[in-house]
């Protein structure tokens, strides 16, 4: 016993000491996993925490897991394990826990882990009776292994890690889009702006909350809620309901908000204290996660993984626009788009401030339903007059963030402006795009383009500042949330804030990208891109974009409507073309996704761009299907290579990814 204990401790310490480094290694392998599902090394290095009071089993498991090349931390007490998990958030990918433990029941541990860190938990027990296994399922275990445990079973546990992430992403999407979609269809098919506004709001608000639930919902398709609440009728936290909830919380103060008081303040018949309690818990977790993400701390796992999953998904949709042409020098481009992103921080904030949120959403919302064809929404628009004029419809580039992303919080959007040159060029681009794109889209684009041209500059929209801010901060990408930047070149303006992007491209623009985008190209100053994706990606991307940029730009616009899409996706835009959307799954991958695609730069850009659009567009409309397709590619290419594109259909773009770009402008 003593020996075992020692072993466990030493392993723990090992982990700790190597944490820094490990993080990196693990992270990278993880991202790879996200991207490609399977990379050369992937399951190796998976960080596993094993908890079992039975030291015999613990020792055997430790060796078995070591055989699978996982990085194992063994712990013989549940309470110690929980503390370890709390202290080192993001340092574990999966938890393997015994069911019966003297200090804390395995199910209790499972609940804590599920609520606090959202890690996949695999239960183990010698008790393989149906009732025992059923209990594990009800508590949310992602698997239940019956002792004796064989190496073959452990070799496969990485799948839960990947699945969890994917599901997490999907959830987000679903939460945003699916429900909204359904609601729209059911309720008002003709969506009014107002209504849409609300929806937008909802989405935003919901995003977070859902996120936490997501796994349950996704898991089974069965829509079972949390284990704890599975037997109760499911409460749908509509936008309105959530708003009431948030205002009650605000009224009470987050720290002092208790389910009972919230319930009293909300005064909604049929809502139980338990419903509120669980929602509150999720809401808090959500806030916490956002805060973490923003802070950027280690991404390593936490960051990326979690965020991606969650945040990322939010963010994913974005769009951008951009333009520019490399080849065509003179021109410039314009366009832009929107974006979205979910920036975490931003989100939080917004969430808290309802006003802000609402505001944002209102602006954004216009999105219109997809059905209409017009996909755009207007974002906020601060734009100047110019913008508005041009896009009367609102069309514009903005996106809806909301819908698509429920997750996003931010909305974003924007439009972009064009630069001077555009005129001619724009047209060209336009045409190309048009071909590809759907008519509607085309129209929009044209419009946009035109407008762009006309306007010359300015654009921008900004959106809620709140959002923006975060993004900036993030510069780093960390989260991946957001990102994006925009760039615009020349013209832009004002807006401060965020927005998107646009890229102008002038030539190079390398910027686009992701990652870092560079400000350089863009004039805009701040930018960020966020990509969750790994840092590396970004860089790459940058270059690519540039070429493409030029052409596309417009595209972005359309996306907004994510709602319609069920799936989600959003992505959109892009200018360059690329983008990807990843839809659900793809998104899920989280980190990867960001990347997007990229296209190649060179010449072809416009065409490509077009393609992209199409795909994107289609995605929107169609929803998942397309997305999926895209997704595959995306996954494969995390890095952004062309190859995928091909599959996807996107030709040249490479990178890019992400969709999310947000840009910010500071002005």
């Amino acid at each position: 016993m003593a020996a075992l204990q020692r072993v466990a401790q030493s392993s723990v310490s090992t982990t700790a000491s190597s944490y820094g480094s490990c993080k990196g290694g693990a992270t990278s392998s993880f991202s790879a996993a996200n991207e490609m599902a399977v990379s050369d090394r992937f399951p190796a290095g998976l960080r596993v925490l094993v908890v079992d009071d039975d030291t015999t089993c613990l020792r055997i498991l430790e060796v078995l897991l070591g055989r699978c090349a996982y990085q194992v931390t063994a712990c013989s007490q549940a309470t110690v394990a929980l503390n370890l998990l709390r202290e080192r958030k993001g340092c574990f990918d999966v938890v393997l826990s015994d069911v019966h433990m003297p200090d804390m029941d395995g199910f209790k541990l499972l609940e804590h882990v599920g609520l606090e860190m959202d890690l996949p938990v695999i239960m183990m027990s010698a008790d393989g009776r149906t009732s025992a296994v059923m209990q594990g399922i009800k508590h949310g275990a992602c698997d239940y292994l019956i002792k004796p445990i064989h190496e073959a079973e452990l070799k496969n546990i990485w799948q839960h890690v990947v699945r969890k992430k994917w599901n997490g992403n999907k959830e987000l999407d679903h939460s945003g889009s699916l429900e909204d979609n359904d609601r729209n269809k059911r309720g008002n098919s003709d969506v009014e702006y107002t209504s849409s506004v609300n929806e937008g709001t909802e989405v935003i608000l919901k995003g977070p909350k859902k996120r936490s639930n997501a796994k349950e919902d996704d898991d089974g398709d069965m829509e079972s809620d949390d284990p704890s609440t599975s037997k109760k009728p499911r409460v749908v936290w509509s936008v309105e309901l959530h708003q009431q909830f948030v205002s009650a919380v605000n009224q009470l103060g987050l720290d002092k908000a208790v389910p009972k008081r919230i319930l009293e303040l909300m005064n909604v018949p049929g809502l139980s204290r338990e419903n509120v309690a669980s929602h509150l818990q999720k809401f808090r977790l959500y806030l916490k996660r956002l805060a973490q993400q923003q802070s950027g701390i280690s991404n390593g796992f936490c960051g990326p993984v979690e965020s991606n999953g969650k945040l990322g998904s939010l963010g994913r949709f974005d769009i951008q626009a951009l333009a520019a042409s490399g080849q065509i020098p003179p021109q410039t481009l314009a366009v832009l788009q929107a974006e979205l992103l979910g920036q975490p921080a931003g989100n939080l904030v917004p969430a808290m401030d309802q006003p802000a949120i609402l505001h944002a959403s209102l602006q954004g919302p216009k999105r219109a339903p997809v059905e209409h064809g017009v996909p755009f929404v207007q974002p906020l628009i601060k734009c100047q007059s110019n913008v508005s004029k041009h896009f009367p419809q609102s069309i514009i580039p903005a996106e809806d963030v909301s819908s698509g992303f429920g997750s996003w919080r931010s909305n974003s959007l924007s439009t972009v402006a064009p630069s001077n040159n555009l005129g001619g060029l724009a047209t060209h681009n336009g045409s190309m795009l048009m071909d590809i794109m759907q008519q509607e889209q085309r129209q929009h684009k044209k419009t946009q383009q035109q407008s762009v041209l006309t306007e010359s500059s300015r654009l921008i929209n900004v959106q809620p500042s709140c959002l923006v801010v975060p993004a900036q901060s993030s510069t780093s990408f960390q989260a991946g949330n957001s990102p994006a930047s925009v760039n615009q070149s020349c013209s832009f303006n004002r807006s401060t804030v965020i927005d998107y992007s646009i890229l102008s491209a002038q030539s190079n623009n390398s910027s686009l990208n992701i990652g870092h985008i560079p400000t350089g190209n863009l004039k805009t100053p701040s930018i960020l891109d966020g990509y969750s994706a790994p840092g590396s990606v970004p860089s790459t991307s940058c270059s690519v974009n540039a070429g493409n940029n030029t052409s596309h730009q417009n595209s972005a616009v359309p996306f907004c409507d994510s709602r319609q899409l069920p799936g989600v996706l959003h992505d959109m835009s892009n200018i360059q073309g690329l983008y990807v959307d990843k839809s659900g799954e793809m998104l899920d991958q989280g980190p990867l996704r960001n990347l997007g695609f990229v296209g190649k730069e060179t010449g072809i850009p416009s065409q490509f761009a077009v393609d992209d659009f199409e795909s994107q567009v289609s995605n929107l409309n169609r929803g998942k299907i397309y997305v999926e397709n895209n997704g595959n590619p995306v996954k494969e290419e995390p890095s952004m290579n062309l190859v995928d594109n091909a599959k996807v259909g996107i030709p040249i773009l490479q990178e890019f990814s992400c969709s999310d770009f947000m840009s910010v402008f500071t002005e």
């Binding site: 009071d53 015999t56 078995l64 069911v99 019966h100 002792k147 004796p148």
Partner: protein, 157 residues
């Protein structure tokens, strides 16, 4: 000569193992355990089995104490101990002990005190038998390693 001794000892081990398998005392899980023993953990099997003995003795003692309380036996706690016992026994391949645990648990679920006592006695008997046999096995193994160990250094020198 020494090498031959080592081979003979290996044969003895195999015979003993075959007998234990035949009797149903052990199952293939024990072989899995042996496969986990490699250069990085040369004494893995005996290490794990010793941990198992140590834990099992505590469990047996706890079970006996629970059953000795005539007025009120905590069957639920007994079930928890038995689950653990089952888990560790099955993990090292102690098949017969595991089977007795299953019967014991069934008796405890029915609050069948007499059944539990009988099961406990069988369990203790099985445990002793396993412990003796495995100790025998490890002794042979140690001798074999010694026999082999004497030879290798000589070759190396």
């Amino acid at each position: 000569m020494l090498g031959l001794g080592a081979d003979r000892l290996r044969a003895d081990m195999n015979r003993l193992l075959a007998m234990l398998f035949h009797q149903g005392v052990l199952d293939e899980q024990f072989l899995q355990l042996q496969q986990l023993q490699d250069e990085s953990s040369p004494n893995f099997v005996s290490e794990v089995v010793n941990i198992y003995f140590h834990e099992s003795e505590k469990l047996l003692k706890n079970l006996r104490e629970l059953l000795m309380d005539r007025e009120f036996s905590d069957y639920k706690k007994m079930g928890t101990h038995l689950n653990q016992f089952m888990g560790s026994s099955s993990s090292i391949g102690a098949k017969r002990i595991r089977n007795v645990c299953v019967a014991f648990r069934a008796a405890s679920e029915h609050n069948n005190r007499a059944g539990c006592l009988r099961a406990l006695e069988v369990l203790e008997h099985e445990y002793c038998y396993l412990k003796n046999k495995l100790h025998e096995l490890f002794q042979i193994e140690q001798q074999r390693v010694l026999a082999a160990g004497v030879r290798y250094p000589m070759q190396n020198n």
